[in-house]
Structures are given as structure tokens and as C-alpha cells.
């Protein structure tokens, strides 16, 4: 019992760190533009597929080929990470100009629909290139289960956890301590005031979308070896990451990370008890949290001035 609990905690944390990465992406663009990419799940999938293709090409195979475990060396995996982040960052720029920029500052659902639309186009492009078959991406660290306190943990799960915590810590540091982080926070507070202080607001906003998309790409690359990735897995992942962001507090980066881990843990623990109740319990819980604390666990309350 103890071992399976521990195992669930590990896989919950690994999954949670994926949610946290994507949720963090939501947070960054929401702070700067009050919008975010509803098609983030498709970006995540794209990240995974681009990475697999990159490894395949490095191994001298066509992109339609299948990867065997030996071909995924840590070096190739790392190179694939770079490729995936660069491609997704570029997609983020495209997304911003095509789907977000026309609607920034408008309330309503226009940007929700346009980003979903962009995601659908990405998804079908992926479908056209790679087909509907699930994607096989062996872990660069192999499949040898590591025993920790009786629980079996995959090396990839540890990699996911370590890598995402590193990235999040870096981002947290950059946002709080550096000049560019200060600029991002100034834009988040008030775009017009930031402009008057000489900050290039449009550059910061594009940067926010680049970071957000790159985070999704990273999440895709990290998660590909632990789930059977397919073109259609994005929606569920993105919805859960969105839930994580809302529960933690969409306007608070640390809240988003906390929400991600929390959600991953709850999902894994409920799954231990009754697998088919996972999603139901998560979403009921989220509705409950929002009723009690509409701004999220760590979110700042928005007060309308009258």
C-alpha cells in the first residue's frame, strides 16, 4: 500500500510538472495581454512531434520512421529539445500575430475562438504530416525502473520533474530579479504606463507568447516518453493545465505552478483509488474551489472601482 502510494505521488508529481509548465505559459501571456492560447494542447503535441522528427533526422531516418530505444541518445534528445523550443517559439510569434493581436483589449470570446481555431489548424497540419498513429518516443534514459522506497519510478519521470522544476525556478528568478523580468511585470501591471517608461511593450508581449509556446513545446517533449502521445492528446492536457492555472490563480505564476502539482497529485491519488473517477473528481473540485475562492488559491482579487 505504502509503495503504491509513493509511486502514485511520483507519477502525480511528474504529470503535475507538465501541467505546471503549460499553466505557467497561460500565466505569462494572461498577465501581459489578458489572453492566452486555448490551443496550447495542440502546441504541446506539436512540440512532441517536432522533437521526435528531430531525433529521427539526427539518427538518419525519415520522419515517418519509428524510433528504437538505442537511437534516442541524451545528446539527440537535447538537440531535439532545442529544435522543438525554436520551432514552437516561432509558432508562438505566428499565433500572436494571427490570432491574438487583432483581439487584444476586447472582452468577450473572440480570442478564445481564434486561438482554438489556430490550434485546430496546427492539429490538422500535424495529422497531415505524421498521420493519426500514436507516437513512439523512447526515453533517453532507458526504461529501467528505479526503486525508491519500494516504489518503481521511471527515469523519465525523474527527468520530467527535475527539468521542469529547473525551468520554473529559472523563470521565477528571471521574472523577479532581472531587468527584463521587471519589464514584463511592468507591462502586466499597465501596458500604457510601461510604454511611457520606454519599455517596448509589443516586444515584451511577443516575448510572452514565445515563452508560453516554448514551454508547451518543452512539456510535449518531456511527456512524450511517458504517455503514448497522439495528435489528439492535447485537448485534455491543455484543459487540465488551464484548470491548474485557474485553481492556483491565473495572475500568479507561483500559484499556477502550485495548481499544476496539486492537480497532478490529486489525479494520481484518485486514480489509485478509482481510475474512472479521476476527471470527474478533479473538475468537481475545481468548481468547488472557484465557488469558495473565485480568484484561485494564490490569485489576487480584482476589485472593480466604482
Amino acid at each position: 500500500m505504502g509503495a503504491s502510494l509513493l509511486q502514485a505521488v511520483f507519477s502525480g508529481l511528474a504529470l503535475g510538472s507538465i501541467y505546471a509548465l503549460v499553466a505557467l505559459g497561460f500565466n505569462i501571456t494572461h498577465n501581459t495581454t489578458k489572453t492566452f492560447n486555448f490551443g496550447q494542447g495542440e502546441f504541446l503535441v506539436a512540440g512532441a512531434y517536432v522533437a521526435v522528427s528531430a531525433v529521427l533526422l539526427l539518427a538518419g531516418k525519415p520522419i515517418s520512421g519509428a524510433l528504437s530505444e538505442i537511437e534516442v541518445t541524451p545528446g539527440r534528445y537535447f538537440a531535439a529539445l532545442i529544435v522543438s523550443i525554436v520551432v514552437l517559439g516561432a509558432l508562438g510569434v505566428l499565433l500572436y500575430h494571427a490570432a491574438v493581436k487583432p483581439f487584444v483589449g476586447q472582452g468577450g470570446l473572440a480570442w478564445v475562438m481564434s486561438t482554438i481555431g489556430f490550434g485546430i489548424i496546427i492539429q490538422n497540419t500535424a495529422l497531415a504530416i505524421w498521420g493519426p498513429a500514436p507516437l513512439v518516443m523512447p526515453s533517453p534514459l532507458g526504461n529501467q525502473v528505479i526503486r525508491i522506497g519500494g516504489a518503481g519510478v521511471l527515469p523519465q519521470e525523474i527527468l520530467v520533474l527535475v527539468a521542469s522544476i529547473l525551468v520554473m525556478a529559472c523563470l521565477d528568478f528571471v521574472m523577479r530579479k532581472t531587468k527584463i523580468g521587471k519589464a514584463v511585470r511592468a507591462v502586466a501591471h499597465s501596458g500604457p504606463a510601461a510604454t511611457l517608461m520606454g519599455i517596448n511593450v509589443s516586444a515584451i508581449v511577443v516575448l510572452a507568447f514565445v515563452i508560453s509556446s516554448a514551454l508547451a513545446g518543452l512539456a510535449g517533449l518531456l511527456i512524450a516518453p511517458i504517455t503514448t502521445a497522439s495528435v489528439f492528446m492535447g485537448l485534455t492536457l491543455a484543459l487540465k493545465a488551464f484548470s491548474a492555472a485557474i485553481v492556483g490563480g491565473l495572475n500568479n505564476a507561483r500559484g499556477c505552478m502550485l495548481g499544476g502539482f496539486l492537480l497532478g497529485l490529486i489525479e494520481a491519488l484518485v486514480g489509485l483509488w478509482q481510475a474512472e473517477l479521476r476527471e470527474i473528481s478533479i473538475f468537481l473540485l475545481i468548481i468547488l474551489v472557484l465557488v469558495l475562492k473565485p480568484e484561485g488559491l494564490l490569485g489576487r482579487r480584482m476589485v472593480e472601482k466604482v
Binding site: 494572461h30 492566452f36 494571427a98 490570432a99 487583432p102 483581439f103 472582452g107 468577450g108 470570446l109 473572440a110 478564445v112 475562438m113 481564434s114 482554438i116 481555431g117 489556430f118 490550434g119 485546430i120 489548424i121 492539429q123 490538422n124 495529422l127 497531415a128 485537448l235 484543459l239 488551464f242 484548470s243 485557474i246 491565473l250 474512472e276 473517477l277 476527471e279 470527474i280 473538475f283 468537481l284 475545481i286 468548481i287 472557484l290 465557488v291 473565485p294 480568484e295 484561485g296 472593480e304 472601482k305 466604482v306
Partner: protein, 604 residues
Amino acid sequence: MRFGKGHAIGVALAAAAIALAPVLITNGFYLKVLFLIGVNYLAAAGLNVLVGHTGQKSLGHAGLFAVGAYTAALLTARLGWNPWLAFVAAGAMAALFGVLIALPALRVRGPALAMVTIGFGIVVEKVVSEWQDLFGGQAGIYGVVPPSIGGSALNDGQWVWFVGALGIVAHLTIRALLRGKYGRAFMAVNTAEVAAESVGVSVYRFKVLAFVISAVTCGLAGALIAQQNQYINSDFINFNLSIFFLLIVLFGGSSVYGPLVGAVVLTLLDAFLARWPTAQHFTYGALLLFALYAMPDGLSGALGRLAKKLVPALARKPALPAPTTGWKLRATERLAADKPLLQTRAVYKAYGGVVPTNNIDMDIKTGHIHSLIGPNGAGKTTLLNILSGIVPPDRGSIEFAGRSIVHMVPNRICAIGLGRTFQNLKLFADMSVLDNVKVGLHRHMRSGFWSCLLGLPNAQRDERAARDEALQILDFLGLLDKADEVAGSLPYGLQRRLELARALATHPRLLLLDEPAAGLNPQETQDLVGVIAKIRDLGVTVLLIEHHMDLVMAISDHVIVLDYGEKIAEGKPAEVQNNPRVITAYLGTDEPDEDDLELEASHG
């Protein structure tokens, strides 16, 4: 009333087309497409009330569709209910779930609201797919009984008639509802919730109502699908269905014809691109991505603009009748002469260490003009917000017209006769000037929900009376020639004037004005003095916050001075003017402080 006649002809033509279609078309596929257009229209027509008019996001209406579908399926297939009865029950059950989803949705807004509705949709989706004993999961429920006429189940043609009839009923009722006081209240909630409450519209009630309306039509759409297919399974219910419904509404536009245009175009697209799934998906993606950019108010909005450009007569609005009599305030019961209209005792409010309202005692006498003055940050607006119910006080008592109004919601406080305007204008910017004033009259229009939904004569009479009265009020404030203009496009001074008109329309006994002269030029400020005096002469008691001292001194009977949340003086204007504490609060003390002395010493 040319427009009304045009609408009647349009509806008659649509009815004739629906009646003839099954006779002329025998191809089962085409009939099915017509049926689906009707189903999608029905779902979108209700959703449009929620999304387009009340401004609430919902990404979970597939859940309500499921409630209707499974109610009809279980009642007929498992419990053997009469299929007609089960169809009605599906709508009722969906309405119940509409309330259920509205309650958490009321507490949140923006992305969190989207989350609540997504969560609801997913929970329903998972329940019907995982609870296999009851809902059959992916295997689904077979043997759903369709309604029958004369012992035989509806055939494809009769289904088109049925759904067509439902669509026409939905169109007529929703149109009647949206053109009257309910439609205005939905729009008011959409644009400015605080202002809606302040003129007596219960934000709570109208949000729940909008959710219920959209739930009923979505639930009926679900029941139609289940009963027509005689089968339902969990694959029907998914996030994409919620998005599809939303796309119909947004793509169609928020006009009453929007859902129709959206349903026709998107259902046809769906049906005829089904053979090429890739093309279908790319088309959807492109539509979602670009349609709202190209047509911000949807296809119906774009078509409407085009039509007005081609046929200028359509753009002309019917002339409004000139008011024949002046406006009068509705008589209210008189208070005893010695009793103040409003009395506060020890009202206290703190935000952490800041105390913007510190034990305020205040008496407002009927028929007088009272001014509340004080330096910036003295707590004037907070006090006004407490009086009008927007901010609850921490303690203290407030009696208005002999009733305690502490912890009463703003729309109730408005209903017993307290009106207000806002320092930062809160007009219903997208509505016409006339409609803004009509929202103010909301509480005084007696016709109920069903009369408005069915467009009964008493609702129409009410509507005409409200228009006439609103015109009288506009005339009273010199805004009559602006009646047809969009409120947000008026110059600033007139927007302030319009807020006054809207507040007056609630027939207040006490009117709270928060800096009515802010941003006005000297001439407009001068005019305002006359306007406020006119309002007092109608019998309205006034309490105003103002920084223009000449205005305050010219019209006030009584002046109350606040500083740092405390009342430091009150009395007649002249008395207050000479009060040393007031002079200190505004100008500082005469005693030179130490820095100045040092400075003088060093220079000396």
C-alpha cells in the same frame, strides 16, 4: 410599423418554406440536414441570450445538451414514458441543470467562468461515459422512443415540421423577450453590472435566467437528436460540441437572426464537407481564426450593414412621438415631517488600517439638497457606496424611508427609492440613449416574464408607456434630440446628463450624485445647478459629492464635511465655509512647520 410587418412576412415565408420542404424534398439526406439545421438553431438561439446578450462565457453547453438527450432517452427507453411527455421533461430537466451551473458561475467571471462551464461539460461527459450501468457509456442507449402522431412515429418529413415549428416558436418568443425589458436587462448586466444593480436590475436573477433559457433550448436540442436517432451514446457529448454551439452563436452574430444564419451556414458546411474530414477541420480552424476578425459582430451583423448600405430605407428609424406632457415623479407615501429620509448612525468601514468611513452619523432631510465635501481620499465615495449597498459597512445602522437597508442588495435599495450616479461613468454604452433610460424604468414596468416571452398585449402596452415616459425624462433634461444615439458616442457632458436621466427614471426619493460636475466645462457646470434645482423641485431629495465649491455653495441647503473618514463639520453652506476645522482640512494650518523654519534660518 413597417419593420413589424416585414418581420411578420418573413416569419410567414419561413413557415411556408418549412411546410413545403418535406413535400418537395424526398431525399432522406437533405431532410436530415434540414432537421439538423433546426436542432442547431434551437440550441444556438438560447445560447445567444446567454453569450451574445448577457455576456456570459460558456464552453460547456454540450453538458446541457447531454442532460436533455439522456433524460429523453432514459424516460422513454427505460421507464416507458410517453415520448412527447419525455421531450417536455427533457427541457425541464435541462432547466434544472441550468440553475445548477448558474450558481457557481455567478461567483466568477472571465477565464474562471469559462473554467466552471468547461468543468461542468467535462463532468457530464465523463459521467455519461463512465457510469455504464445507467447511461450505457460508449455502447449507448438503444430504443429511445420518438414522438408519434396517430400511432406511427414521426417520419423524416414530419421531424422537419416538428423542429421547424419549434424553431419558429423559439424565434418569436426569444425575439419578443429580447426586444422588451428583459432584453435590456440582459444587456445592462452584460455592460455594467454595478450600474444594472443601481437601477434596480438584479444581476443574480438575470444571469440565472439567461443560463436557464440557454439550458432549455440546448436540452430540447439534445432530446431531438436522441429521439430522432432513437439512440444516444457518450460519443455525442464532447468539448467540441460546446465549441460548435458557441461558434454558431459567435459566427452568426448576436442579433436575433444571428443563430439562424450561423446554424444554416455551419450545418451545411458540416454536412457537405463531411466527406473530406481534413478539409472540414481546416475550414473550421480558419473560420474560428478569421471570422470574428473579418466580422466582429458576426455574419448577421455584416449582412445587416450591407443591407442598410444597399437599401438606405432600412437604416431609417421610425420617428419617435414628441412627449405631450411634462414628466412627474410617482407619488410615494409621505414620511412624518420631523423624520429624516435617511439616517445613519455610527457607520464604520475599514480596509485593513485605512478607515474611509469612521462612525458617520448623518441625517438627510426630505426635499433638501445636501452636499458631501472633503479633500481627496476623505471617504466620500465609500460612504456613497455604503448607502447604495455596493459596499457593506462593517457596523452601524442605516435607515432609509423608515427601513434598515444595511446588508440589502443594491437593486432592492433602488427599488425602495434610492437612485445614484457614478463618478466614473457607468452607462450601458452600447445601448441607445432611450434604452438607457428605459432600463431605469425597469422596476416600474409591471408585465411579467411570461407576458414578455409571449409578447402579450399588456407587455406591449407597458413597453409603449415606458417609451413615452423615457422620452418625457429625456425632454426634462434636454436630451430629447439625442434619444436614438448610442450612449457611448455622446460627448462627455451629455453622458453625465444621461446617467442622471437613467437614475431619475427609477423614481428615486433620494438621489445620490457622485461628482456630477467632474469634467464639465464652466458653462455645463452652471447649467447643472439649474438641473439639480429642477430635480429638487420635482420632490427628489439630493445628496451630492462635489469639488466645485461655487456649485456646492450655490445650491446646498446643508453641507457635510468629511476628512480622513470622519465627519468634521456640517451645517449651512456659510457656516461650514467659516469653520476653522474645514479650512484646516482644505488649506492646511497656518503654523509654519520645522522644515520651513530651518530653511528661513539658513537663508536669513
